[in-house]
């Protein structure tokens, strides 16, 4: 039984929740007073530069650092063999003995850009001067670059001590898939390709570490959004976990999943302890793009659908091959999260799902916004478009015919996850109305009649929110982790002011605003008077960081739980001081009064003063002060997978429906947005501007993934998109104005009905945009089944 927050005492009509409120974080950012990891300075701080591998796959035969060491200002140089002798490998989440990952390459470099040597100097520029003087001798090995070729038994191995380049392969069958296919009047099969891209924050990864021998304590400031970051540093360096203090009061300049920095944190912490000085490493853009291990999913999907003449889909077979690059870490689990929404928003009765993780000589993959759900949803949604086209119905209509209906919730999908709540037809209807779909179709048809190339795309998505460790157990039998907690500590001091501590850093999600809004609502005080601070990893409560669109859900409910506990205690203090039983008293705004009596009451300040100063008036046996904490397990969490791999993945399921109209320039193949409208449902909204920003930001990432962004490797395994001039990200010119409307179906699993909202835009947009392109290309008898779709791809289709 998971402990839920105590019942509400605050008024039912919200004063602050769902109302416009200026986010508290924004003020320091517009003043230029944010404090990011690269802004941290310490006395005697030294800086790191990296020598990367020039080859995709090569034996390192010699490293000569003598000239580099002679550069004035260079304190020391570290090579892979030395680091490996003194640290443990970085954590793998798959059970893959023989695949060892360290911050620096050992005798073999496994991708171009992999870190080989680290140089510590008084200034970054000096460290870079010295890096140029390091001579590394390589003996090139054959590079493995194509994930399917990598699966061949005779492929050169990326990790010779592992049996093959396949790191994980399992086929799940949920329901009578073969029977459903055999019985279906129609089937189709398509291959989709989601190319390697990432969310690429404007801030690169930065970390500063300082080892203090007097206390055997490691202090770390990092631009990190990572569950288990302190543990992984402690494990790699064999430091007790209570000797690693990660400071979470660092502003993180964007993450969207990728700011993991495990190898960065371990390397810099090691360097600080090894050389006896505080050390800082701020990735430059090349180090970030080529060697930062921050690329996202890179997948091939083979999808089969069994459906009928009305376009109702009965069953799916999905096979996905994910190119993890050289070092997988946590990234293969991104094929696990989609298990919890493997049928999208549709009442599909059975599913076969095969997940294959392959290693190649490319940079390591990492978590990206949606944790693998964006590519999977891309494949599901484009399949729905194909079903619609094959039976001759509209792509909006095919979705309507397949939607799970509002009265079916909670609805358990074949893979075992219960969707909590939703009203997909209504949200789709809102999107249809907002876009004026009928008018859009007339616009498209008129444009086509004039010889123009125009199309409309539709996509929906289920956005699982809340997080859960269950994909760790699903993909690794030896991992029995079922806890994915979050905590909040709340204090009221002797002057009555309120402060809260959260155990995470934020990368733009507005957690201080979230927590203070909820506390303001429950305590019935102005949220702007409440202070929220980010505790360090030793002072804070258990946390799994702001992944999985989980903070409104779990930090929200931890906050609500702590606040209600504290209110209950204050009521008991006041009742005792009034000489009454607690059940005879009630809250009246910020005072406690005797219910229905003469108005005798104790004010907020009086209660705080009794708790802190007047022990003789405190409830006998009660601890002094006003402080409490609440740690919550993710709702519906705490279970292990069944033998068939059925899982309750995340607790909350948001929904969105996108309608996109595009026009394609016949001469250049460029895609112009004519209209972008969407409706979304993330349950109870806490801060409307933050919600809007999250949705919109996800759309911008989705447009990038659909049209522009791709990490391209050449035939020798060199990354050829190394800068923002080659890896193109959408600007104000590429992201259109978006019309947006909300719908609120509260979640039954959270205290206020809130759900997650950070990832849905990114999950829907690529399918909606590519769907619109395909509609535009349909009169030419062409379609594309990959992302990103470049102008060249489109021009080929138009010819």
């Amino acid at each position: 039984m998971i402990v839920a927050p105590p019942p509400a005492t605050e008024p039912r009509a919200h004063r602050f929740i769902g109302k416009k409120r200026r986010p508290v974080e924004d003020r320091r950012f517009v003043l230029g007073r944010g404090r990011y990891a690269a802004d941290i300075t310490l006395p005697h701080l030294h800086h790191v530069a990296i020598v990367p591998s020039q080859y995709a796959h090569a034996r390192i035969t010699a490293i000569d650092v003598s000239a580099a060491l002679a550069v004035p200002g260079v304190l020391g140089i570290l090579t892979g063999p030395e680091l490996r002798a003194k640290t443990k490998p970085l954590r793998q989440y798959l059970d893959i003995p023989g695949v060892e990952w360290f911050p620096l390459a050992g005798d073999v470099a496994r991708y171009a850009g992999e870190w080989v040597v680290a140089i510590v100097a008084t200034e970054r520029a000096i460290a870079e001067d010295a890096a140029d003087l390091v001579a590394v001798s390589y003996e090139p090995l054959p590079a493995v670059l194509d994930p399917e070729a990598a699966m061949d038994a005779d492929s050169p191995p990326v990790h010779p001590s592992h049996p093959s380049n396949i790191l994980y392969q399992r086929t799940f069958v949920w329901g009578p898939v073969d029977a459903d296919f055999a019985a279906a009047p129609r089937t189709l099969k398509t291959r989709y390709r989601w190319h390697r891209s990432a969310t690429v924050p404007i801030e690169t990864f930065s970390v500063t570490a300082s080892w203090e021998p007097g206390t055997s304590m490691l202090d770390v400031w990092a631009s990190v959004q990572m569950p288990q970051f302190p543990e992984q540093i402690a494990e790699a360096l064999s430091i007790p976990l209570n000797g690693v203090r990660v400071h979470f009061d660092v502003d993180v300049g964007g993450s969207y999943g990728v700011k993991r920095g495990i190898k960065h944190g371990v390397l810099v912490s090691f360097l600080s302890r090894h050389f006896g000085v505080p050390v800082s490493f701020v990735e430059d853009r090349l180090e970030n793009m080529r060697g930062g291990d921050m690329h996202g999913p890179d997948r091939i999907f083979d999808v089969e659908a069994a459906y009928d003449d009305r376009g109702v889909v009965r069953s799916l077979r999905i096979r996905t091959i994910d190119d993890e690059g050289a070092y997988p870490g946590r990234s293969p689990l991104q094929m696990g999260k989609p298990v919890g929404a493997i049928v999208g928003a549709y009442a599909i009765a059975s599913v076969q799902y095969e997940a294959i993780a392959v290693t190649t000589n490319k940079a390591g993959q990492v978590a990206v916004r949606g944790f693998g759900q964006a590519p999977t949803n891309f494949a599901i949604e484009l399949t729905m478009d194909r079903v619609a086209r094959n039976v001759g119905i509209d792509s909006l209509e095919v979705r309507r015919r397949n939607f799970i209906q509002p009265e079916q919730f909670p609805y358990t999908i074949p893979s075992g996850t219960a969707y909590d709540s939703g009203d997909y037809p209504t949200v789709m209807a809102k999107a249809e109305a907002l876009a004026d779909y009928a008018a859009l179709r007339r616009w498209r048809d008129a444009a086509r009649a004039q010889g123009r190339v125009a199309g409309i795309g539709i996509a929906s998505c289920i956005e699982p929110g809340g997080g859960n460790a269950i994909f760790q157990a699903l993909f690794n039998d030896k991992d029995k982790t079922t806890t994915f907690p979050e905590g909040c500590q709340v204090k009221i001091d002797r002057t009555g002011t309120i402060s809260a501590q959260i155990g995470i850093s934020s990368s733009g999600q507005g957690h201080e605003t979230l927590v203070s809004t909820l506390l303001g609502e429950i305590f019935e005080v102005e949220p702007d008077e409440i202070r929220v601070i980010h505790a360090d990893s030793l002072a804070g409560l258990p946390s799994q960081s702001p992944v999985a669109s989980r903070m409104a859900i779990v930090l929200g409910d931890a906050t609500v739980g702590a606040a209600r506990r504290l209110k209950d205690r204050m009521l008991r203090i006041a009742a005792h001081d009034l000489g009454r039983a607690p059940e005879d008293c009630e809250w009246n705004g910020t005072s406690v009064r005797v219910a229905g009596a003469d108005g005798a009451e104790r004010t907020w300040l009086e209660i705080a003063r009794i708790a802190h100063l007047f022990y003789h008036r405190l409830v006998p046996g009660m601890e002094p002060g006003l402080q409490t904490q609440f740690v919550i397990e993710v709702p519906t969490g705490g279970t292990l997978p069944t033998a068939e791999g059925r899982v309750q993945m995340y607790p909350c399921h948001s929904f969105s429906a996108h309608v996109v109209a595009v026009e394609i320039d016949r001469g250049t193949g460029k895609v112009h947005f004519h209209k972008y409208a969407l409706a979304h449902d993330c349950g109870t909204v806490i801060n409307p501007d933050i919600v809007r920003g999250m949705v919109m930001g996800g759309i911008a990432h989705g447009i990038g993934a659909a049209l522009y962004e791709r990490f391209v490797y050449d035939d020798a395994g060199q990354l050829i998109t190394q800068t923002f001039a080659d890896y193109m990200m959408p600007t104000t010119h590429e992201v259109p104005h978006v019309d947006m409307i909300e719908h609120e179906t509260p979640s039954p699993f959270t205290s206020l009905g809130q759900k997650g909202v950070g990832e849905g835009g990114y999950m829907s947009t690529p399918a909606a945009v590519v769907g619109a392109i395909n509609d535009a290309l349909a009169p030419f008898g062409a379609r594309v089944d990959h992302a990103p779709v470049t102008p060249v791809d489109i021009l080929e289709c138009l010819q």
Binding site: R22, P23, E25, D26, R27, R28, F29, V30, L31, G32, R33, G34, R35, Y36, A38, D39, T41, A125, T199, V200, P201, I202, E203, T204, D251, V252, G253, G254, S255, Y256, D284, R285, S507, G508, Q509, G510, D689, I690, R692, G693, M694, M696, G697, G698, I699, A700, H701, T723, F724, A725, M729, T731, T732, H733, V735, H737, V738, G761
Partner: protein, 159 residues
């Protein structure tokens, strides 16, 4: 490495320093003057996060040397507020519209938008998008940034 004595006015204050020839203006502002509001995103002059004003004109401080700013007047994001505490109308609009999330590109956005509004106090939506097209934001999808600039323009941007 040759060093050079340089003098500039930074956010209204006269600064005299000796710097190596190769130090970028961004590094000079951040490391020598501790004005860490100027952020480095790409160091290739593409993302715009490091935008400052040099004699009133928005420039990429990552691809200018500090010595190139010798004798110039430099304004950074820290100089937008008249007293370091009060928000300028544009800063206020960014907070009001939540025209940011992580805050990392924000200083560059503010510097670019300030330059726009000085030249063109009532820009159209297209003009705003045009002027901010050289600043990349990965959080917001730009919509609330455009709204922020519109709001500042509406409320009479004066500076």
């Amino acid at each position: 490495m040759s060093r050079h004595d340089i003098t500039m006015i930074v956010n209204g204050k006269r600064i005299e320093r000796s710097v190596p020839a190769r130090r970028s203006l961004a590094d000079f502002l951040r490391d020598d003057l501790q004005l860490t509001g100027t952020h480095l995103g790409c160091e290739h002059g593409i993302c715009g996060a490091c935008t400052v004003h040099l004699d009133g004109v928005p420039v990429r401080s990552c691809i200018l040397y500090a010595v190139q700013a010798d004798g110039a007047e430099v304004t950074t994001v820290e100089g937008l507020s008249p007293d370091g505490t009060t928000l300028s109308p544009l800063q206020d609009a960014f907070v009001s519209c939540h025209g940011l999330q992580c805050g990392f590109c924000t200083p560059g956005m503010l510097m670019a938008a300030t330059a726009l509004l000085r030249e063109n106090p009532h820009p159209t939506d297209a003009e705003i998008r045009d002027e901010l097209g050289g600043n990349i934001c990965r959080c917001t999808g730009y919509q609330q940034i455009v709204e922020s600039v519109q709001q500042a323009a509406r409320e009479g941007f004066v500076r």
